[in-house]
C-alpha cells in the first residue's frame, strides 16, 4: 500500500510532464530545471548550515577496532582512528566503499529454533552497485553540459561501453543500476521485516530513480531522442541564454521532469544522507577521548557554590560549634 502511494506520485509526475510539456514546453524545459536546481542548492546549503548549528556534546565515535594503546598493541587505524588523517581515511572508506554496511548481518532461525546471525553482503553489494552506477551516469551526462567534452568523460563513457554489445552500445552502468534498483525495491517489497519498516518516503526515491533510468534507456534504444537538440538545450541553460530547440520528445520531457523532481526533493528527504554522512559524529570524530578532552560547547555557565566557598561563608559559625573543617588548620 505504501509502495502504491509512492508509485502513484511518480505516475502523477510523469503525467504532469507529459501533459505540461505539450502545452507549455518552455516552462518544462527551462523554468522547471532552473527552479529545481535553485531549490537543490539552497536547500542543501540551508540544511547543512542548520546541522552545523547543532553542538556535539560528547565525542562519540562508534568504532569497531583496537584503539591506540600501548606501543606493542597494534592499532587499527582505519577502524579506530586517532588522528585527523586516520579519520579522513575512515570517512573515505565509509563514503566510497560503505564500510559499515559491509558489516550488515541478518538474523535467521535454524531448524532447531536457534537464532543465529549471518553476514549479509548482498545489501552492501546492491548499494555499492547502485551508488557507483549513479555517479558514473551523472558524470557521463556531463557530455551534454560541456563543449568540448573533456577526454576524461569520453574515456569514462568508452569504459562504460567496453563490451561493445548492441547498437547503441550497451552501457554497463545502465544494466547495473536497473539491477540494483530492482533488488533494493524487491527487498522492501518481499522481505517482511524490511517491508514493515518501509514508508512511502522509502519507496518514492527508488521508484523515481527507476523512472529516470527507464526513460533514459528508452530514449537510447526505443524512442530515440535528438541528442543534438538535448545538448543545445543543456548548453543554453548553462550560459543563461535558454533556447528551446525543436525535436524534444515527450519522453525527454518526462526524463527531465523526473530528474528535476529528484534534485528538488533531495534537501527535504532521506536523500540528504549525501551531506549527512559527512556530519555523523559517530564517524567523523577521532577515538582519542583519553588523550584529548572534548569540551561540550553546549555547557552553559552554571552558578555553583563550592564546598570551599560554603565553608568560607560559615567559617565563624562552624568554628564556634566545633565542627571540623577541611580548609582550616
Amino acid at each position: 500500500m505504501r509502495a502504491v502511494q509512492a508509485l502513484t506520485v511518480v505516475l502523477l509526475l510523469i503525467a504532469i510532464a507529459w501533459g505540461g510539456a505539450a502545452l507549455i514546453p518552455a516552462v518544462f524545459a527551462v523554468a522547471v530545471p532552473y527552479l529545481a536546481l535553485a531549490v537543490f542548492l539552497l536547500g542543501i546549503t540551508l540544511h547543512i548550515l542548520a546541522w552545523a548549528r547543532v553542538p556535539v556534546p560528547f565525542k562519540i565515535p562508534s568504532v569497531c577496532g583496537q584503539q591506540r594503546s600501548l606501543p606493542w598493541i597494534r592499532q587499527q587505524r582505519l577502524e579506530s582512528p586517532f588522528t585527523s588523517w586516520q579519520v579522513a581515511g575512515r570517512m573515505a572508506l565509509e563514503i566510497l566503499l560503505f564500510r559499515s554496511l559491509f558489516r550488515n548481518t541478518r538474523s535467521v532461525l535454524t531448524p532447531k529454533q536457534r537464532l543465529v546471525y549471518q553476514p549479509d553482503k548482498v545489501l552492501w553489494l546492491g548499494a555499492l552497485a547502485f551508488h557507483w552506477s549513479l555517479l558514473v551516469i551523472v558524470l557521463r551526462h556531463l557530455r551534454f553540459f560541456l563543449q568540448p567534452i573533456p577526454r576524461s568523460i569520453q574515456l569514462l563513457s568508452a569504459l562504460d561501453g567496453v563490451f561493445q554489445l548492441l547498437v547503441p552500445t550497451l552501457l554497463i552502468t545502465d544494466v547495473l543500476i536497473l539491477g540494483a534498483l530492482l533488488y533494493l525495491l524487491g527487498r522492501r517489497l518481499f522481505n517482511p521485516l524490511v517491508r514493515y519498516v518501509s514508508l512511502p518516503a522509502d519507496f518514492f526515491p527508488l521508484l523515481l530513480i527507476l523512472g529516470i533510468a527507464i526513460t533514459g534507456i528508452l530514449m537510447r534504444y526505443v524512442d530515440k531522442v535528438d541528442l543534438t537538440a538535448v545538448k543545445e538545450l543543456a548548453l543554453s541553460l548553462t550560459v543563461f541564454h535558454p533556447t528551446v530547440p525543436h525535436g524534444l520528445s515527450p519522453l525527454f520531457f518526462i526524463h527531465l521532469f523526473l530528474v528535476s523532481s529528484l534534485i528538488a526533493y533531495i534537501p527535504f528527504s532521506k536523500l540528504m544522507h549525501v551531506g549527512g554522512v559527512f556530519l555523523s559524529p559517530t564517524r567523523n570524530l577521532p577515538n582519542n577521548n583519553r588523550a584529548r578532552r572534548h569540551i561540550n560547547p553546549w555547557n552553559h555557565p552554571v552558578p555553583v557554590h563550592t564546598y570551599a566557598e560554603w565553608e568560607e561563608e560559615f567559617h565563624d559559625k562552624l568554628k564556634a560549634a566545633g565542627i571540623p573543617m577541611e580548609g582550616d588548620d
Binding site: L41, R143, L146, I149, S157, A158, V167, P297
Partner: protein
C-alpha cells in the same frame, strides 16, 4: 555554528563542483548552437527519410555490416523500393565524401566514437 572552518569550505567546494558547467561555460563563452552538417549537393534524401536516418543510422549501418560481411547480402531495398548496395565506403561515403564535415560534426559534439574506422579507411575528403 560549530566546526565552521571545516563545514563552510566543504559546502563551498560542493557548490562549486555541482555548478561548474555553469561558470565554465559562461567564462569560456561557449556557444550552445548545434553543429551544422555539410550535406551532399544535388541530393534531397538519403537511403531513407532524414528523421529516420538521424535516429537510426547506427542501427542501419550495423545491420548492413552484418548482412554484407557475414551473409554476403549486399542489396538493400529501402521503404520506397529503391535499391542500394550495402556498403559504407561505396554508398554512404559516395555522397558524404568528407567524414570531417559530416560524421564527425555530430559525433564530436556528442562525444560518440563509432568503431567504423577501426576497419574502414576514412576517405581523405573533398570533392573529386
Amino acid at each position: 555554528m560549530y566546526d565552521a572552518g571545516k563545514i563552510v569550505p566543504g559546502l563551498v567546494l560542493f557548490l562549486a563542483v555541482v555548478t561548474f558547467p555553469f561558470w565554465l561555460n559562461v567564462a569560456n563563452g561557449t556557444s550552445s548552437a548545434a553543429p551544422k552538417l555539410e550535406l551532399p549537393k544535388g541530393y534531397t534524401r538519403c537511403v531513407e527519410a532524414t528523421p529516420v536516418m538521424r535516429a537510426t543510422h547506427m542501427e542501419l549501418l550495423n545491420r548492413w555490416r552484418d548482412l554484407a560481411v557475414r551473409h554476403a547480402n549486399r542489396v538493400f531495398t529501402n521503404s520506397n523500393g529503391q535499391r542500394y548496395v550495402r556498403s559504407l565506403t561505396g554508398t554512404c561515403l559516395g555522397c558524404h565524401r568528407d567524414k570531417k564535415q559530416f560524421c564527425d560534426r555530430c559525433h564530436g559534439y556528442m562525444g560518440v566514437t563509432p568503431y567504423c574506422w577501426n576497419c574502414h579507411v576514412a576517405p581523405k575528403g573533398g570533392a573529386q
